[in-house]
């Protein structure tokens, strides 16, 4: 049976090629129709040529005195001996650095939007510990005033995730950070969904009166959900193959879990403690699904070998620790130790503040590693916030590095992005100049700030 790879268009059970077109027999069943598709359209732009910059491609060594050309939303060339085409906007990069757009694989922008009142608190469907039926994109507010602040930090793509109150928190969304009226217009085309899951203190605290109230209760809740999902998947797969009678009853949560079991959706797993990650790895093997990345992974350095062996990424903070017991053993060398052990490592934000300075977080982790004698390179560090999160989001074929043919997600920095003093001067998202520090006509405010914030605020 052919399984559709992408999930952006098809939310439901992966179907073989429909037996008839959209007006045919399948169209009467909602599960088989395209659902909430991306309406993203690339903004038309003149080609851009940045000359004489230090280009950090995130695939190889930095190239000093290099140029980059991008056109029609794609990187055309990167190198030392390029000539600017006549129709290109030429930008002098002398003394400046160029990197891929930053990707944050752990964000709650839009789902926990500013100004942070109850009304914008849409990140945790904390009414049931198992809610695979909810989708973060359906909480996402494109007018969150935090969005332009993150763009000014060089971020081009985020994974917007449900919160971590629930064992199974719902689907994540991979979004381009651009001005938009709808979340559909921000959805990264053909990016697969992820499923947010959470271990540890949060679920057992939130549900302590109804359960789960223990870590073993957390595991039991996860297992029960996937046991049910196995049956659901089997029913649907049989019907999709045989097409005998009406399809089985549709269950939104089980539909998502079945997609996880089919491998079309992979798991993004909030998990701090080393021993709990080992439990979750066993759980994923029990049911045959794939954990794409552990998130937070404060104790990742204790089991870096286990994560490497299982091919699971680690999305970590540079410097957060000690705010709760499961974060008590955080150390600044975590990212460096994970990386040298062979784990695909990501520096994530999980923060409306941190997302604005992910380059600084990468720098902090880079130098913490080097100062401890761990052989971490600048290339490793730039990959923590570009190529590696692109892999976690399964969009690494499209973005995350500066190579010919990749999307033109590009940041021009005022200096070395690993210096505390550097700023993103210009940010291009798929070739569209969405931020220019020196040109107010390329800075925007979301609606919320209009008419109530003083000039200069939010820019």
């Amino acid at each position: 049976m052919a399984i559709l790879a992408g999930c952006a268009g098809h939310a439901g059970p992966s179907s073989p090629t429909p037996k008839s077109g959209p007006d045919g027999a399948d169209a009467q069943w909602s599960a088989l129709r395209p659902q909430y598709p991306s309406t993203y359209q690339r903004h038309p732009n003149a080609p851009v040529f940045i000359r004489n910059a230090t280009v950090m491609t995130a695939v190889g060594p930095e190239i000093a005195g290099a140029s980059i050309l991008f056109r029609d939303g794609k990187v055309v060339a990167v190198g030392k001996d390029l000539v600017a085409p006549a129709d290109a906007t030429v930008i002098d990069g002398t003394g400046k650095f160029v990197t891929p757009g930053i990707i944050d694989d752990h964000s709650h922008l839009g789902v926990y939007a500013a100004p942070g009142t109850w009304a914008e608190s849409d990140g945790n469907e904390a009414t049931n510990p198992v809610t695979p039926n909810v989708w973060a994109e359906q909480s996402f507010w494109p007018q969150d005033p935090q969005i332009p602040l993150a763009i000014a930090g060089g971020v081009t793509v985020i994974e917007a995730l449900p919160g971590s109150a629930n064992l199974i928190g719902g689907r994540s969304a991979t979004l381009r950070l651009i001005p938009a009226r709808t979340v559909q217009a921000m959805k990264f085309p053909d990016a697969p969904y992820g499923l947010k899951m959470a271990c540890g203190e949060n679920p057992k605290r939130v549900y302590q009166n109804r359960g789960p109230s223990t870590r073993m209760g957390n595991m039991a809740g996860d297992r029960a959900a996937f046991i049910e999902a196995e049956q659901y998947r089997a029913r649907w797969d049989k019907w999709l193959k045989d097409r005998v009678g009406d399809p089985p009853a549709r269950d939104l949560g089980l539909e998502t879990l079945a997609e996880v079991l089919r491998g079309n959706i992979q798991v993004q797993n909030h998990c701090y403690r080393a021993d709990e990650m080992a439990q979750m790895i066993d759980l994923s093997k029990e049911f045959g699904f794939k954990i794409r990345s552990f998130h937070h992974v404060v104790e990742g350095y204790k089991i870096a070998d286990l994560l490497a062996k299982n091919g699971i990424a680690a999305s970590v903070w540079a410097d957060w620790w000690g705010f709760k017991m499961e974060a008590y053993d955080g150390i600044p060398e975590n990212a460096a130790l994970l990386t040298t052990a062979g784990v695909r490592t990501v520096i994530h934000s999980d923060s409306e503040d941190g997302i604005q300075r992910l380059n600084q977080a990468a720098a902090e982790a880079l130098y913490a590693g080097q100062q401890a004698g761990i052989p971490i390179t600048r290339l490793d560090a730039i990959r923590w916030i570009t190529a590696n999160p692109a892999w976690v989001l399964r969009i690494e074929q499209q973005t995350g590095t500066l190579e010919a043919g990749k999307d033109a997600d590009v940041v021009l920095w005022s200096g070395d992005p690993f210096s505390v003093y550097s700023k993103a001067d210009k940010v291009w998202n798929d070739g569209w100049l969405v931020f220019d520090r020196n040109d107010p006509s390329h800075q925007y405010q979301t609606d919320f700030n209009l008419g109530q914030a003083a000039p200069g605020v939010g820019q």
Binding site: G322, M325, R357
Partner: protein
């Protein structure tokens, strides 16, 4: 403000005897001289000194300059190519008061009730708190430790980040009274900011009245007051303009309310938070009110819609004394990077260094002892591998009261154990 080690006459010793599980005590001061030589010295109180020397003895700085004589037998620290600064001063911290934020067993910073002026955090400080050596490794040597929450949270103390007992650490008790005017205080005002202000006025008037008529109060010849006598008595140094008041206020109108209150009651005011302080910078400068800024805050909330990253810069440019006092999930050890970000957002490097050293010391009236490299001040000195605000630099020596502190923490122990996998537990 006293800069002594008074402990307010309470039974400190009894409490301390149980608290000394981990003693990282500062060795008794000796006559041994330490000479930090060859570095670029940033005294903060004056211009930088190339190839400078800093001399320490008996826990004090005894000399700073270029080409000064080094006594025979001095312990030399070669700082050639290094940067030498005063120890950093965190102007608003919970070091020692909070171990793990979500764990009540380790939290000592907040007393129940809205109005707790008599609450003094000193005896809640745990000298063995794991946050302390971690902050110290980032060059932080001195801190104002504050109570949290509530309309009047209580009184903070200035500590240095060394010592095995509270008596050894707490250098200035009753260093500041912490109050709140914005959204965090609304409940105490019956749900309204105006109610908060009215309650402050009533409390302050009652405190004045109590001071004036103690004898009448003792003989029950006064009408009921709005707080117990002990709480009103604790406000006396504040209303005498001796003990600073740190008012948490972010919205422009809240800052203006704080200024109004300070005028009415002659308070020695500091603003903390001050998200919209840049909009009232001239008034703050004119009133001589310092601002403790969280300079990485730019997300709008209804308590401060006009948040911007260059708030501290705009305040400094207007002549306001700015203190950078970032609180974050690094457990506040990233103070030097917050200062770097202030420079990134327009502040001069010298201003930023001052904002994490001398300015907090001055604002709290303890600059006789801390904040700059000057003879007579406490020998709290950091030798950095490079620019202290850069991620690529690290603190190589941290002296507190002249003692070269070990740069070890629970974090370095964990690193040592797990650097090579599997770990060796024996």
């Amino acid at each position: 403000m006293s800069a002594d080690r008074r402990m307010g006459g309470r039974a400190v010793g009894v409490i301390l005897s149980a608290a000394l599980l981990v003693v990282l005590s500062v060795a008794p001061a000796t006559a041994q001289v330490v000479a930090i030589t060859g570095g670029t010295v940033y005294p903060v109180s004056g211009p930088k000194i190339e190839n400078g020397t800093v001399l320490l003895r008996d826990g004090k700085i005894i000399g700073v300059g270029a080409g000064i004589a080094i006594p025979a037998g001095a312990t030399r620290i070669d700082a050639t190519g290094k940067w030498v600064t005063p120890g950093l001063f965190h102007g608003f911290s919970d070091y020692g008061l909070t171990g793990v934020q979500s764990v009540d067993e380790t939290r000592e910073g907040s007393e129940r009730g809205d109005v707790n002026p008599a609450f003094d955090v000193a005896e809640g400080i745990n000298p063995a708190a794991v946050t302390i050596p971690i902050a110290r490794m980032q060059g932080i040597t001195t801190a104002l430790v504050v109570p949290s929450d509530n309309m009047i949270a209580g009184q903070g103390v200035v500590i240095d980040l060394a010592g095995g007992t509270v008596e050894d650490m707490v250098a200035t008790d009753h260093a500041a009274m912490v109050i709140a005017l914005g959204v965090e205080a609304k409940d105490a005002g019956g749900g309204s900011r105006a109610g908060v202000l009215a309650r402050f006025r009533q409390l302050f008037q009652d405190a004045v009245e109590y001071q004036r008529r103690k004898a009448d109060y003792d003989q029950n010849r006064m009408q009921a007051l709005s707080a117990p006598a002990a709480e009103l008595a604790a406000l006396a140094p504040v209303l005498a303009g001796k003990e600073p008041v740190i008012a948490q206020a972010n919205r422009k109108s809240d800052i203006e309310s704080a200024l109004r209150l300070a005028r009415e009651f002659h308070l020695k005011l500091l603003i903390r938070g001050g998200v919209e302080a840049w909009m009232v910078a001239p008034a703050l400068a004119q009133a001589g009110v310092p601002v403790l800024v969280q300079n990485l805050t730019d997300v709008p909330h209804f308590d401060g819609l006009n948040a911007r990253l260059d708030n501290a810069t705009l305040l400094a440019q207007a002549g306001v004394k700015v203190i950078l006092a970032q609180n974050d999930d690094s457990r506040d050890r990233d103070l030097r990077f917050a200062a770097g970000n202030a420079v990134r957002n327009g502040m001069s490097w010298d201003q930023a260094l001052r904002a994490v050293t001398l300015s907090p010391a001055e604002a709290l009236g303890v600059n006789d002892r801390w904040g700059s490299l000057d003879a007579g001040k406490s020998a709290d000195v950091v030798v950095w591998s490079g620019d202290p605000f850069e991620f690529s630099s690290r603190a190589e020596h941290v002296f507190i009261r002249g003692v070269d502190m070990p740069l070890k923490s629970r974090m370095t122990e964990l690193l040592d154990r797990y650097r090579t996998l599997p770990p060796k537990y024996f």
